[in-house]
């Protein structure tokens, strides 16, 4: 499934034009991205939570040369599926 399938679903369910449906789908994605970029959690009941996690700097190795390198501290985005979704998927 890609974004165009979601746009199609919005077009069919809500009765927007395709152009308007695409705009609104992008608006949902941009709103979520902005929140995440600000370090805010996005919690969608029945689906799951998106969360920013801070990773400390750590030592790693270049797998090709074996050279030791420092991997700088960073922030990563994680998704945790909701209990409801997990149960539906395995029920």
């Amino acid at each position: 499934m890609t974004k165009s399938d979601i746009v199609e679903a919005v077009y069919q369910n809500v009765g927007f034009t395709k152009k308007r449906a695409a705009e609104v789908v992008n608006l949902i994605l941009d709103t979520m991205k902005d929140a995440l970029e600000d370090g805010e959690k996005v919690k969608i009941s029945g689906f799951g939570n998106f969360e920013i996690r801070k990773k400390d700097a750590r030592k790693g190795r270049n797998p090709q040369t074996g050279e030791e390198i420092t991997i700088s501290e960073r922030r990563v985005l994680t998704f945790k599926p909701s209990q409801v979704l997990k149960e539906r998927l395995n029920g």
């Binding site: 991205k33 929140a35 959690k41 029945g46 998106f50 985005l77 998927l89």
Partner: protein, 94 residues
Amino acid sequence: MNKSELIKAVAEKGGLSMKVAKEVVHTFFDAHIDAILEDERIEIRGFGSFVNKKYDSYTGRNPKTGEKIHVPEKKLPFFKVGKELKFRVDLEDD
């Protein structure tokens, strides 16, 4: 931000009634949920992708009691963040 806050933000920014914004946001996530339940891969450019991973069954232990328990095989949706968002999320710290 939770789902109702997302609905409110979409209503305000998109000039939609709360009712319509709610329908759109629910359609958006229902489409995701349906795809995941059908083991379909989801790919949203600039955001990320979801794919179900299969985990074999194993014998685990209840960490409190030490009792052995059988964990049946299961599927879980795995999210991989897209390049653009990965970059944006990491950059904010600087």
